[in-house]
């Protein structure tokens, strides 16, 4: 069973400290949701875990099954079992979705163990139809000209194809209509098993109606300030964040301008 452990994580962007001591443990079989208003450090946490070059870890540790994630390059983190569904996926012209996915799968399997073309196509067809994606999407250039909803769905397709141990979904629900949200949720629920842990970052409780989290955390001022079960998300939906700010004596919950 995979365990992602984050201890006392401090992260700076361009010299400004955004995360100020985050502690979190995500185990296989668990779904965690991190909620919080804009600008409190949620996306910074996901980028730092994946190793975005702009984010500098100044203190603390991240480990996956005891291995030091911070020592790994971005691609090594992915091959170790981490996955980040990005808020703004890149568009890559001239590279088809299918070629990209096959390259990514083969990078995981390593030389000599490559997936056969037939097996790959079968798996891709199956996952795409599960996510109700147009088969054309396999042959279009990676995210190029995709609508916002198509990009999000394509991130979930990658999740299903790559089968990571721990996935982070960074605002996978933003900009989705209810039908698309249901499909994306269906994709995540499909992955649910004791071998799969998930960290969902969201502003909205809406997504959690479809993916029931085991744990809900609230982030403010670059820290996790409150944790609880699914009922916490429901209270946030009903009452907003002010009661937490009041309870903890926080006036300004932000640490950054969300990009």
């Amino acid at each position: 069973m995979a365990v992602l452990t984050i201890r006392d994580l401090h992260v700076s962007v361009e010299g400004k400290e955004i995360l100020k001591g985050v502690n979190l443990e995500v185990k296989g079989g668990e779904i965690h949701a991190i909620m919080g208003p804009n600008g409190t450090g949620k996306s910074t946490l996901s980028s730092a875990i994946m190793g975005h070059p702009k984010y500098e870890v100044t203190k603390g540790s991240i480990t996956l099954d005891g291995q030091d994630v911070l020592e790994m390059e971005v691609d090594e983190r992915a091959r170790a079992g981490l996955f980040l569904a990005m808020q703004y996926p890149s568009e890559i012209s001239g590279v088809t979705n299918a070629d990209f996915l096959r390259t990514a799968i083969n990078a995981r399997l390593g030389e000599g163990n490559e997936i056969s073309l037939m097996k790959f196509i079968r798996k891709l067809d199956e996952k795409m139809s599960f996510l109700e994606m147009n088969p054309d999407m396999a042959h279009r250039y990676l995210n190029e000209g995709f609508s916002g909803g198509e990009k999000k769905r394509n991130e979930i397709l990658q999740l299903l194809m790559l089968e990571p141990k721990i996935a982070i979904l960074d605002e996978i629900d933003s900009g989705l209509d209810i039908d698309a949200l249901k499909i994306v949720s269906k994709g995540v629920n499909e992955m649910r098993s004791s071998d799969f842990g998930c960290l969902i970052i969201t502003h909205y409780q809406r997504l959690l109606n479809y993916i029931t989290p085991d744990y809900v955390h609230v982030m403010m001022q670059g820290r996790i300030v409150k944790s609880g079960g699914p009922e916490l998300a429901q209270r946030l939906e009903a009452e907003g964040y002010d009661w937490i700010k009041k309870e903890l004596g926080i006036e300004d919950e932000t640490v950054e301008q969300e990009v």
Binding site: D75, A78, S90
Partner: protein, 436 residues
């Protein structure tokens, strides 16, 4: 260092050369006049590249005799890879240095009146047709020293003629092999598509030696007459040490269409010019070019679409990769002449630099002499986008492989256009080797 500008070939040489081939007097006269002009005219002035020290004129081996091929199996592996040997009905011309070594054209096309032959045979057998098109309305002899020199010393090439209403379904392929490392090549290509006809022509230039010492001067003239459609694809892969001047020009008549897909992969210093003139109303020109510069080579690529007719459309797309300490200049010119109303000129130039010392420059230019038109351009020079790299790597793809994917994707617009699988594959392999 003083550069010798006196030409190594005189009137007597040109006369003997031409008479030895039994050329008609119009061509001999044209050659002699061109030679005189080559002495006087200046070199071309490609924007932002100084070429006055380049050697375009000093060379030996203006005539290299090679044997014709009795079978394609005799070709070296590198050339065989370009050709679909299994295809029975191929339309193929192979030139070894200056020798027409192999030619096949399907019976069906012959019967329809399609001409596909080496330029000298064409001069002998279809003299009037060749004379009508050779360096008249396309590229002119007296544009500058290199066009004049080209006309004077012409020593290879093909002539393609597609009669009215004939649609050629299988592409015509020409392979020009530089076998000796010092063969000087003055290759001339004419493609004429008469009214309502359609043809695709694919050419390859390939050097057998890794390194050479030669001068290559290529002129291609493409005519798409009324409502005709020409697709012209090329993969240039001349070796390091070859100074190349390449001029490909298209003339489109009323509703004519000319589409270019050019993979410019030379390893030596190169000036490459590609101009499409949209003369007729409703004509259409589309130029897609990809380029890789490496080593210490300097290259200048000028792509231009000039609109004369009304309702004409011109598109330029150029993607270049520059590595090592190579220099590549990309000039893109969309020009709309007065009277070419309702026309549209679009261009996009993008340069990707892979090393600190690599130099790339994209100069998009729009020259517009008419009010009622639309036009646009986009240009960028930069490095591999770190956000794209991060995205690919976040899926487990190692950095080198991620870079390779991005570069191949960047050059895909031309690769995907090549109509012959064998040539497409070869272009991919060349790119693979060059960007590694």
């Amino acid at each position: 260092m003083a550069i010798e500008t006196k030409l190594p070939f005189d009137q007597q040489y040109v006369r003997t050369f031409s008479e030895g081939r039994g050329e008609p007097s119009w061509l001999l006269d044209l050659r002699l006049q061109a030679l005189a002009k080559a002495e006087e005219l200046p070199l071309p002035k490609p924007d932002k590249t100084k070429i006055d020290k380049w050697n375009f004129t000093q060379f030996a081996n203006h005539v290299v005799q090679s044997a014709p091929l009795s079978s394609l199996e005799e070709l070296p592996e590198a050339v065989k890879a370009l050709i679909d040997l299994n295809e029975e009905a191929k339309n193929l011309y192979v030139q070894r240095d200056h020798t027409p070594a192999y030619l096949s054209l399907s019976e069906d096309l012959k019967q329809k009146g399609v001409i596909f032959t080496d330029i000298f045979t064409a001069v002998r057998e279809h003299g009037e047709l060749v004379q009508k098109y050779f360096m008249k309305d396309g590229v002119q002899v007296d544009e500058h020293r290199l066009t004049a020199l080209h006309a004077a010393l012409l020593n290879g090439g093909v002539f393609v003629y597609v009669p009215k209403n004939v649609e050629v379904q299988t592409p015509l392929q020409a392979v020009y092999i530089q076998e000796k490392e010092d063969t000087a090549l003055f290759n001339h290509i004419i493609v004429v598509a008469e009214d309502n006809s359609k043809v695709a022509y694919v050419e390859n230039y390939i050097s057998l030696a890794e390194e050479a010492n030669a001068v290559v001067n290529i002129v291609a003239e493409v005519f798409a007459n009324t409502n005709a459609r020409v697709f012209f694809a090329a993969v240039d892969h001349l070796a390091k040490g070859i100074t190349a001047y390449v001029n490909r020009r298209g003339i489109a008549g009323r509703d004519g269409r000319i589409e270019w897909a050019l993979g410019l992969m030379n390893d030596g210093d190169t000036v490459s010019e590609n101009i499409t003139r949209l003369i007729g109303d409703g004509s259409y020109g589309d130029t897609k070019t990809v380029v890789v510069g490496r080593g210490k080579q300097t290259q200048n690529f000028t792509t231009s679409v000039i609109h004369y007719g009304k309702h004409t459309e011109g598109y330029i797309l150029k993607h270049g990769v520059v590595k090592d300490s190579a220099t590549s200049i990309f000039n893109g010119i969309g020009k709309i002449e007065h009277g070419a109303s309702k026309s549209n000129a679009e261009q996009e130039s993008r340069v990707l630099m892979l090393n600190e010392k690599a130099r790339g420059d994209a100069n998009p230019i729009l020259l517009i002499d008419e009010d009622d038109v639309t036009a646009g351009h986009a240009a960028s020079v930069g490095r591999v986008d770190p956000t794209q790299l991060y995205y690919l790597m976040s899926r487990g793809i190692p950095k080198a492989e991620a870079e390779r994917l991005i570069i191949h994707g960047f050059l895909a617009p031309v690769v995907n256009e090549i109509p012959l699988e064998s040539v497409k594959k070869q272009l991919i392999e060349i790119i693979e080797r060059k960007v590694k």
